[in-house]
């Protein structure tokens, strides 16, 4: 298992190199820079040149690239002039927001999606199956930003049960944190619930015909117990796969949800950086996102080994 982890981590290095090279290439290809954002629409070329000089944006690309990689080797992702903050610091400051949003959303999606999938499998082709799968399809089809706005309108404005936006840090106020994160996580969860429920149903149906399930039934176990204990454990590998993919998709969805709910997360940081052409932040954000994807894939691979002992012999 450790060998697998070490190999996968080593394999991540070229992936991260490619990501950093591509993100740096984008800085050369995409028009516009942060000087234009600072100077405004009526800026002259002289104004822009002056600001570029102040910010060091007038240095040749290769010099900037060498400087950035040299910093990276020392663990320094550079500095954002617009934020007046180190990029590493800026990302780490926002990471808890995005991770708590994504993890809570995925947790909620699993809590609702897996039981819904199991119920659908147990009652296949009957009304609970059709109701669960219909609801999953609706969740899958609705755009997350629209869901977010509807939740704000209903639970925030009409019922006044939840705040309409903003973020309270967990360290500052646990209840406030839960109130601030529940609505955005709920919106994000609804979009992930569908794939998880559908995959659970299909994997459970496949396992439900297995000999060991028949044996479990023959031993006199109740249907709920058969599904919760035996069918679920047999179906976990494909479910883990879809949850792992869902984590990545949730990270993407968090970009939108953070905008809608005004959450100061990594997604909003990166979107803001793209719109302002704050390249050190864009590069740092992309590198971090790639790293998170690699780590999530690694964790999913390790979880496969944990839930299915048969795979350990191949590891």
């Amino acid at each position: 298992m450790f060998r697998l982890a070490a190999i996968r981590l080593l394999a991540a290095v070229p992936v991260l190199m490619v990501v950093s090279l591509v993100s740096f290439g984008l800085t050369l290809l995409v028009p516009g820079d942060m000087a234009a954002e600072m100077a405004g629409p009526s800026a002259t070329a002289a104004d822009l040149a002056r600001i570029r000089g102040e910010l060091g944006l007038d240095r040749p690309p290769l010099v900037r690239m060498a400087s950035w990689y040299s910093g990276l080797l020392h663990g320094d992702l550079g500095r954002s002039v617009l934020l007046n903050q180190g990029v590493t610091e800026a990302i780490l400051e926002r990471l808890p927001v995005t991770l708590s949003l994504t993890c809570l959303a995925l947790g909620l999606a699993c809590l609702a999606g897996i039981p819904a999938g199991l119920v659908a499998a147990a009652k296949a082709r009957r009304w609970p199956d059709q109701a669960a799968m219909g609801a999953a399809l609706v969740g899958l089809s609705l755009p997350d930003f629209w869901l977010g706005l509807v939740l704000i309108w209903v639970l925030g404005v009409k019922l006044n049960l939840m705040p309409t936006g903003g973020y309270v840090a967990l360290s500052a106020d646990a209840v406030g944190w839960l109130r601030s994160i529940t609505l955005p996580a709920g919106a994000l969860a609804l979009t992930q619930l569908g794939p998880i429920a559908r995959m659970t149903r299909s994997a459970a149906l496949e396992v439900a015909d297995s000999d060991f399930i028949r044996t479990a039934r023959a031993k006199g176990l109740t249907e709920p117990r058969v599904y919760a204990r035996h069918v679920l454990s047999g179906a976990l590998v494909p479910i883990l796969t879809v949850v792992g993919i869902g984590f990545g998709l949730s990270l993407g969805g968090a970009l939108v949800i953070e905008q809608v709910f005004s959450l100061p997360g990594v997604g909003r940081l990166v979107i803001g950086a793209v719109l302002r052409r704050d390249w050190p932040v864009i590069q740092g954000g992309l590198l971090l996102t790639a790293l998170v994807f690699v780590m999530v894939n690694l964790i999913v691979d390790l979880l496969y080994l944990w839930v299915d002992p048969r795979l350990r012999s191949n590891a």
Binding site: G32, M34, M38, A43, A45, L82, G166, S262
Partner: protein, 516 residues
């Protein structure tokens, strides 16, 4: 040598010492934490260096300037008692208000003003305004003398503009590079924290020394009294979420409320809405250097093809007024609208005739616009459709804001560029006429008549001469169809009903208002 004393609001100045704000100023209820929502986050809080509205909203609560603008956008002293301008227009002697404190406890002196103005000349957002300044002298702690190398009748207007404010900061902060100075000013609120993507927080500066030359707030000038304990600016990109926050009371002030939402909330007893008209010029800039728009007849055809009112009605959600002048009515430099009728009425037959005269053969006309500002996108979209209706081959290119800014500075690759000019017309004529002249005019190809008008505007010591220069500029823009002034656009600011004595302005001013 010193001939006249101008811009001096010091009617009471000789007698008055700074008094506690509450004792003599406005009587309101002190306390409370007010939360304002704004769409954008500031690109920087280095006030001198940015022209972003998102930054001004915050920095103008923290920093003050020698001169600023009153309610009617005329220059008024703020940190200065007044200024003596020499007869030759080359020496400006500013007398500073005494006892003004920075947020770090230090008393402001002429050395701080000199260092701040010199920094502005190096990296300020409107650094060109400091170009005529050859030297800044500080004969004593409360006097600053600026010596100009050439006359600049718009100098006080320029340094009083809030566009990229000529913020006065402690001398020791002025040596720091762009974006690095600690946010220390003399304003009624002091900086507490800035959390990018979340909020900026200010707190009332209890040692604030109000300008006792005034009785109440007056634009950015006047006697400012802070009542709220703290002011938090939340950065909320989603308009629906901002409106929802105002309705639930989580937010107390909105920098701007969608016009449609304002109509919906007009009967809500918990919300007050305030229309600001005018807020900006809606324009359609043309590139006179490249492609079809290099031909004056094609530009005139474009002018004739457009139904300006239809564009305004759509791009402003109905909050607009038709106003062809390139300065606002009622301001000092208003050039009038005589003779403009012929240019502003849609006449498709005339447009087709002009296209024929120009030998137009269906060459592509590229409209570049951004998706960040709805008025830009809608103006571009509607104008493109109206131009297609007279037979023009129009390509509408929608990009993000930095890309459009980059594209429009290029001498080719674009023909039309919709732009809302907000702060420039508020400032007066200098940055409006200046936008079309100088080293890089917005229309790319310099126009000799506009250059001459700009020269007159910046050198003529008589007000009438400068007004004539604006008239000359306006007549030329219409005659040569250099740009289309579509109309004036308004905005709606909003507060909860318990915010008392709020008055809308260029930024949501959090002084002189309080919670009921």
């Amino acid at each position: 040598m010193l001939r006249r004393r101008t811009f001096n609001a010091g009617l009471l100045a000789s007698a008055a010492l700074p008094m506690p704000a509450i004792a003599q100023g406005l009587q309101g209820k002190r306390g409370g934490d007010v939360i304002i929502a704004q769409q954008a986050q500031p690109p920087t809080l280095d006030a001198q260096t940015t022209t972003a509205q998102a930054s001004r909203n915050i920095t103008l609560h923290v920093y003050e300037t020698l001169f600023t603008r009153d309610e009617a956008s005329n220059p008024k002293p703020d940190l200065a008692e007044g200024v003596d301008i020499a007869a030759d227009g080359l020496t400006y002697r500013f007398t500073l208000r005494t006892g003004v404190k920075f947020h770090n406890g230090k008393t402001m002196t002429s050395a701080d003003v000199k260092a701040s103005m010199e920094r502005y000349g190096r990296i300020g957002g409107s650094a060109y305004a400091m170009k005529p300044v050859a030297a800044i002298e500080t004969p004593d702690a409360k006097t600053v003398v600026m010596k100009l190398s050439s006359v600049s009748p718009g100098f006080i207007e320029a340094i009083s503009s809030p566009r990229a404010p000529f913020a006065i900061m402690p001398e020791e902060e002025c040596a720091k590079p762009l974006g690095q100075p600690a946010m220390i000013g003399t304003g009624p609120f002091r900086f507490v924290e800035f959390r990018p993507d979340s909020h900026a927080k200010l707190a009332r500066f209890d040692d604030y020394v109000p300008n006792t030359n005034y009785q109440k707030r007056d634009g950015f000038a006047g006697r400012k009294t802070a009542f709220f304990d703290t002011v938090t600016f939340r950065f909320m990109p989603e308009g629906g979420a901002r409106t929802a926050g105002l309705q639930t009371g989580e937010l107390q002030v909105l920098e701007a409320l969608d016009v449609a939402a304002a109509k919906r909330l007009k009967d809500d007893k918990n919300v007050r809405t305030y229309e600001m008209m005018p807020w900006a010029f809606q324009t359609l800039m043309m590139n006179t250097n490249w492609g079809p728009t290099a031909n004056v007849d094609i530009r005139r055809a474009i002018q004739a093809a457009l139904d300006l009112e239809e564009i305004m009605a759509i791009c402003s959600d109905g909050l607009y007024r038709m106003d062809p002048a390139w300065q606002y009515p009622g301001t000092n430099y208003f050039p009038g609208i005589d003779g403009l009728d012929a240019y502003i009425k849609q006449d498709q037959a005339k447009a087709r005739a002009l296209l024929q005269k120009a030998g137009y053969k269906g060459e592509e006309l590229e409209v570049v616009t951004d998706n960040a500002f709805r008025n830009h996108l809608d103006t571009g979209t509607v104008a493109a459709q109206q131009l297609r209706a007279v037979g023009m081959n129009v390509k509408l290119s929608v990009m993000d804001w930095p890309t459009v800014l980059n594209r429009r500075t290029r001498p080719d690759g674009w023909n039309l560029w919709p732009l809302g000019m907000g702060i420039e017309p508020y400032e007066g004529p200098y940055n409006v006429v200046g936008f079309f002249s100088g080293a890089q005019p917005v229309q790319i190809k310099a126009d000799p008549v506009i250059e001459e008008a700009q020269k007159r505007l910046t050198t003529d010591l008589s007000l009438q001469g400068r007004i004539d220069a604006v008239k000359q500029f306006q007549a030329r823009v219409y005659d040569q169809a250099i740009s289309v002034k579509v109309g004036d656009i308004g905005i709606v600011q909003a507060t909860r009903a318990n915010v008392v004595n709020y008055a809308p302005y260029r930024i949501p001013r959090m002084w002189d208002c309080w919670f009921a």
